[in-house]
């Protein structure tokens, strides 16, 4: 099997995508993955931390109840043994267990539509998952221990220095393009956005609005390019009434619209979208992708 090669590509600028990292599959198609942002990763971590804490509290309550129920010191000891092992497993196994699963994501990551991948596009191995999560010691528990440490005089100064030093690890992902944290670096992994998207209806064929009795001259459809088409698609899909009205007004004045003035804004925009897309796609088939309205 040919290894999929990664290369950076400033793709899709015309399409208005955020910066993509290209992953070329062995079949030769670029998947254009998008790197998860720092805030998304931090939010995912906070969700996971809350889940762990909730589990730990519930677990402690259960262990306490068990100890209380057994009365004897043997029951108490069994409960504390189980508690110690359970807390250890939870702290170290939660992330590893979920990231080894088929979705390669913890519940927090899943909630934000993220997943872990191997940076070379190959298989995500157990070693890599273990390595990236062992590093959490450095990124979470070390700064936390400095943060909660208290001291005066020289001790205080040392703690402050330690906090700054360990703080570097926390903000590390902000300083590289792929938002790698130390664990990703040590494991050769990265976190990408992998949302489930639904196939939405084609706006150009939506209901009777396509064409819908409204027609445009060639000069009128030539007013815009692909970038504007995509903005228009966004406006139509969002369905916000005020934006639709405003955009319709601007387009009417830009193309010097002289047709019937009683056409509803939404209907007008739908018709214009269909006409513009038909025109641009036909030109693209003939080899000319008109990037935006300034493109000849």
């Amino acid at each position: 099997m040919r290894r999929p090669a990664f290369a950076r590509a400033a793709v899709g600028r015309a399409l208005g995508f955020d910066e993509a990292r290209s992953l070329v599959t062995p079949e030769g198609v670029d998947l254009r993955l998008r790197v998860a942002s720092y805030t998304e990763r931090a939010s995912a971590f906070i969700i996971d931390a809350l889940i762990i804490m909730a589990m730990l509290i519930g677990f402690s309550l259960l262990a306490g109840l068990a100890a209380w129920g057994f009365h004897g010191s043997l029951g108490g000891e069994a409960a504390s043994v189980i508690w110690l092992l359970g807390a250890f497993l939870l702290r170290n196994g939660y992330f590893i267990g979920f990231e080894l699963g088929p979705q390669a994501a913890t519940p927090g990551k899943r909630a934000l539509g993220l997943r872990v991948i191997a940076r070379d596009g190959g298989r995500l191995t157990a070693d890599a998952v273990f390595a990236r999560n062992a590093m959490r010691e450095l990124e979470v528990f070390l700064p936390a221990s400095f943060f909660f440490a208290r001291g005066a005089g020289v001790d205080g100064a040392l703690i402050a220095l330690g906090a700054i030093w360990s703080g570097v690890f926390v903000v590390f992902p902000l300083f590289n393009r792929d938002r790698l944290r130390l664990g990703d670096l040590a494991a050769g992994t990265m976190v990408i956005k992998a949302p489930k998207r639904a196939l939405r209806p084609d706006l150009a064929q939506e209901g009777p609005t396509a064409g819908g009795g409204v027609s445009f001259t060639e000069a009128q459809v030539d007013a815009y390019g692909i970038k504007e088409l995509h903005v228009l698609e966004g406006v139509l899909r969002s369905g916000d009434r005020r934006t639709v009205a405003e955009v319709a007004r601007r387009i009417r004045s830009k193309i010097a619209w002289e047709g019937p003035s009683d056409v509803a804004d939404r209907l007008f925009l739908g018709a214009y979208y269909s006409a513009l897309r038909a025109r641009l796609e036909r030109r693209a088939l003939l080899g000319h992708r008109r990037r935006d309205k300034f493109d000849a």
Partner: protein
């Protein structure tokens, strides 16, 4: 006048059913696991995946429907990670780990292991000599909590008692063993992770660990209890110190890779060392589990020096043989 049927729309209607079929299969595999897919579905998956990929590249060139392209990109990415993703069975993975991967990773770290061991031994020797010359040094190496009365102010009889303390029944031992295991494993993981910060913190941890050991031995040695104390330590210490040395070695190798990446890029070198270190660390956790059992049970229940030395020697032979006994290298 606008065409009622765009070419891109026709393209979409012709293929839509296949995409939806792939989406359903992926959802099924994700919720129920790949094992729940029927053989026919498993065969169908890569075919549908390739169709979706070719749809994606066609759509990129002929369709200007942004949502369609985003949909296909997300569908293809999900299918890609399914088709080329890992689906090893956990048991098989564990077997491979113990049969070859772990010892191989440990062997490949022999330089770092020697260095980590040397650092520990030197620290122990230095602390030993210092404490023998001036017993007050003991307090700067060993915090009062860890010493729990076993300091130069204690009487010889008390020190001897701590070595052969009668366990009050078997109670408390489970708890002790569990605590030792979780605590040591956490510290070892921490030492490994710290290696990333250019080796120095890992070295500091190794020095601290070695110095405490040396200080304890010096204290007991000054009362003529060196041999029993060594037996008391080594019954689990062989396993535990070996594990700590390996954790330090894994941390050192990672710090070294970051500092001096050699021909590779820094990121590649770090990733390689990190994954190898992870294999070693997975094993270190296992070793610390064994050490905790020895410390929590065997040391409390076996109170004859000779037997303690025998167990220590046996564990040394077992680990040494397991890791370093020459064997045919496993196929990569």
């Amino acid at each position: 006048m606008a065409e009622l049927q765009l070419k891109s729309h026709r393209f979409r209607t012709e293929r839509e059913d296949d995409w939806r079929r792939l989406e359903r299969l992926l959802a099924k595999a994700q919720s129920a696991g790949a094992a729940k897919l029927s053989p026919a579905e498993l065969v169908e998956m890569p075919v549908l995946y390739r169709q979706a990929l070719s749809s994606l590249s066609t759509a990129r060139s002929i369709s200007l429907d942004q949502s369609l392209i985003l949909y296909l990109e997300s569908l293809c990415a999900r299918a890609y990670f399914f088709v080329y993703g890992t689906r090893t069975r956990p048991l098989e993975r564990l077997a491979r780990f113990f049969a070859g991967e772990w010892p191989a990773a440990v062997r490949s770290l022999w330089r770092e292991t020697l260095a980590a061991a040397a650092v520990g031994v030197i620290a122990a020797l230095a602390a030993f000599i210092l404490v023998r010359q001036d017993a007050d040094w003991f307090y700067s190496f060993v915090p009062a909590g860890l010493a729990s009365g076993r300091d130069p102010a204690a009487s010889t009889a008390f020190l001897r008692d701590t070595l052969y303390a009668h366990p009050s029944g078997a109670q408390g031992l489970h708890m002790l063993a569990t605590f030792l295991f979780t605590n040591n494993a956490q510290v070892a993981l921490f030492a490994f992770a710290l290696g990333f910060a250019l080796c120095l913190p890992t070295l500091a941890l190794l020095v601290l660990n070695g110095a405490q050991l040396g200080a304890f031995l010096a204290l007991f040695g000054s009362r003529g209890l060196a041999m029993p104390a060594a037996g008391w330590l080594m019954i689990h210490g062989v396993t535990e110190l070996f594990a700590i040395t390996l954790a330090g070695a894994a941390g050192l190798s990672m710090g070294w890779a970051v500092t001096f990446p050699g021909e590779r890029t820094r990121v590649e070198a770090a990733g390689h060392a990190g994954r190898r270190g992870a294999v070693v660390m997975g094993g270190v956790v296992v070793m610390l589990f064994a050490a905790a059992l020895l410390e929590g049970f065997a040391r409390q229940l076996v109170r004859v020096d000779l037997a303690r030395y025998a167990i220590a020697g046996l564990t040394a032979l077992l680990w040494g043989g397991y890791f370093y006994w020459p064997r045919r290298s496993a196929p990569p």
